[in-house]
């Protein structure tokens, strides 16, 4: 299509505006994370947009070393919340991906489990808050509360719809000729699935897993309800960071926020192509 110069100018101007609005909150947090206490606690006229005196002290602080006598060192550092976030997100992803991939193949090739697509979308429809009471009761009964495996199991179920739908659209797209050829060669159906189809699907599997991981890693509400102290995740821990001396610990929170924000942003950019499919339950193919 032909381009007119005024349109191009308009386009870049609009994109510039959108980029500014998009980036200000992110850059502000990055800047806060590297500011020393005198700068992150400044307000109004003293506000500095860029750290004048960049420091890693906020990161040191969240990992248990206080470099400023205004703030007492934390009685526990952020290592455990980070580990907790990581463990529950990784195992949740493993549960969702293994159950989801198997079910997606079952439905895509053999038509088993016709009820699953609907049931899984419905699972996604309800506000988590509205179904958490029975889960909290069950988890207390099973002694799963405040454990990373208890959290993993809920994450696995909550993100199962995405794993299932993504994998189903991927399986539907794979031509069956190769599988049929292997069947003729005498492979069993299961062997075809594990030895032929799955290895072929390595790239789609990886993007689906990253996608599910981002969703698990992003949770705040479920961790807030199902953990109390031992295995709180990064967002829950972040929200609790404050000191009696200075109130909100902006710098430390920003440092922790940055640690939580970086992995999903990088993974998200890596799997951009599959985001539409994932988020629309495959209703839109790209």
């Amino acid at each position: 299509m032909k381009r007119s110069i005024p349109f191009e100018i308009f386009r870049y101007a609009m994109i510039l505006v959108a980029m500014t609005v998009t980036l200000i909150p992110i850059l502000w947090m990055m800047s806060m994370a590297f500011k020393p206490i005198a700068e992150w606690s400044a307000t109004g006229a003293d506000l500095t947009w860029w750290p004048k005196d960049p420091t890693l002290s906020n990161f040191q602080f969240v990992f248990g070393e206080s470099t400023n006598n205004l703030i007492v060192a934390l009685d526990r550092n952020a290592l455990k919340p980070i580990l907790s976030s990581l463990l529950s997100a990784v195992f949740g992803t493993a549960i969702a991906m293994s159950a989801g991939t198997a079910a997606a193949y079952g439905l895509s090739r053999f038509g088993s489990g016709q009820n699953l697509p609907l049931a899984l979308i419905q699972l996604r429809l309800f506000p988590p808050m509205a179904v958490m009471i029975p889960v909290m009761i069950m988890w207390a009964f099973l002694n799963f509360t405040d454990s990373w495996w208890g959290l993993s199991l809920v994450y696995g179920i909550v993100t199962l719809p995405f794993a299932f739908w993504l994998m189903k659209t991927f399986f539907d797209d794979v031509p069956r000729e190769i599988e049929e050829a292997a069947l003729v060669e005498g492979c069993s159906r299961l062997r075809v699935f594990t030895r032929i189809t799955l290895p072929m699907m390595r790239a789609p599997l990886a993007s689906a897993a990253l996608f599910v991981f981002i969703l698990n890693w992003s949770d705040y509400l479920i961790a807030l309800l199902l953990t109390t102290r031992e295995w709180v995740t990064i967002p829950v821990y972040m929200a609790s960071l404050s000191s009696s001396m200075t109130g909100q610990l902006y710098g430390a929170k920003a440092a922790l926020g940055l640690i939580a924000a970086v992995p999903p942003v990088i993974m998200g950019i890596a799997i951009q192509r599959h985001l539409v499919r994932g988020l629309t339950f495959g209703a839109l193919k790209q």
């Binding site: 889960v135 069950m138 509400l221 929200a239």
Partner: protein, 319 residues
């Protein structure tokens, strides 16, 4: 089955007999493959729902000193449900959830559509701009909530920008004013989810056949006519899906909002999820919470049936 097939040599085995055998093997494998997912779904839906139903007709709470299985001793018939009808805090939370939805979803849609239109064709730098513009939706919502909490402080960057724009110091206490706090949480929601609209709508826009647009151009249609008569009708299903996703997700709004304001000041930003959360963790009246949650689930299920029929039809159209 295997004994039968084993007695027939390969040459004699005809296709008609081989197929049912293979089909059976497939059916069995298919069943086994879907089993784990079925169990997980059942685990999180059927049993919890029954438990919720049971608790919702009692006064049971975790502090009542007895296990939930003994909740029947606190049977209160349907008092929880009749209380719900008279609970003004519930209805105002519902109203607030609706206000947020009515403002945020159209705003995200229009901004997303505008961006998607700008990105519909190739231009230098497209890829990098696209990646940056999608970033907000990948930021952990709780972290986004904290970002906006910092931005909207009375001595924070938003007021700083306003100060330099207006020329005199602005010190608006965004998060402690009832109306402004609601606006602030809506700004955060729009910031985070406009990229999703942009992403979905751009995927749809790229799918509009270019030759039709070219034909319309040759026939003398102006850009607006092309958009209204070709692009928009082609994108109808995609637009419905995008709006449906945001309506559903926006109804659940919690993380960002709760970190920013905790539902406050007072109850000024208390949405349904925040209200239920507070009842669950602070008031601890779980029997009542179960009743509220069930009422919401029933209303949503009815809405879901309609939406699902629509989705099923669109899937057929797209496929």
């Amino acid at each position: 089955m295997s004994a039968v097939t084993a007695t027939i040599s390969e040459g004699e085995m005809d296709a008609a007999r081989a197929k049912p055998a293979l089909r059976n093997e497939g059916a069995r494998l298919g069943f086994r493959l879907t089993l784990p997912a079925q169990i997980l779904v059942l685990f999180i839906s059927a049993f919890p729902l029954l438990m919720q139903l049971y608790i919702s007709v009692t006064d049971w709470s975790p502090l009542s000193g007895t296990g939930w299985w003994n909740a029947w001793s606190m049977w209160n018939s349907f008092a929880n449900y009749t209380d719900l009808a008279a609970d003004t805090r519930f209805w105002s939370a519902l109203k607030r959830t609706a206000i947020v939805m009515v403002v945020c979803v159209p705003a995200e849609f229009l901004l997303g559509l505008a961006l998607a239109t700008l990105f519909a064709d190739e231009f230098p730098g497209k890829r990098i701009f696209y990646s940056i513009l999608l970033m907000p939706m990948m930021v952990v919502p709780a972290v986004a909530g904290y970002m906006f909490f910092m931005l909207f402080q009375s001595g924070g960057p938003v007021n700083d920008i306003l100060s330099s724009l207006t020329g005199h110091p602005v010190t608006i206490a965004w998060l402690s004013d009832p109306t402004l706090a609601l606006i602030a949480v809506m700004v955060a929601d729009i910031w985070q989810w406009t990229p999703l609209m942009f992403l979905i709508l751009l995927a749809g826009l790229v799918g509009v056949p270019e030759d039709q647009i070219k034909a319309a151009t040759l026939l003398g249609a102006n850009p607006w006519q092309r958009f209204a008569t070709i692009v928009l009708p082609k994108m109808k299903t995609i637009i419905i899906i995008a709006l449906a996703i945001r309506v559903i997700e926006n109804f659940k709004i919690f993380d960002t909002l709760y970190i920013m304001t905790g539902g406050g000041p007072g109850v000024a930003t208390e949405t349904i999820s925040v209200y239920i959360y507070k009842l669950t963790t602070q008031d601890l009246i779980w029997g009542y919470v179960a009743a509220i949650a069930l009422a919401i689930l029933i209303v949503l299920s009815i809405a879901a049936v309609f939406a699902m029929k629509r989705m099923a039809r669109t899937r057929e159209l797209v496929a």
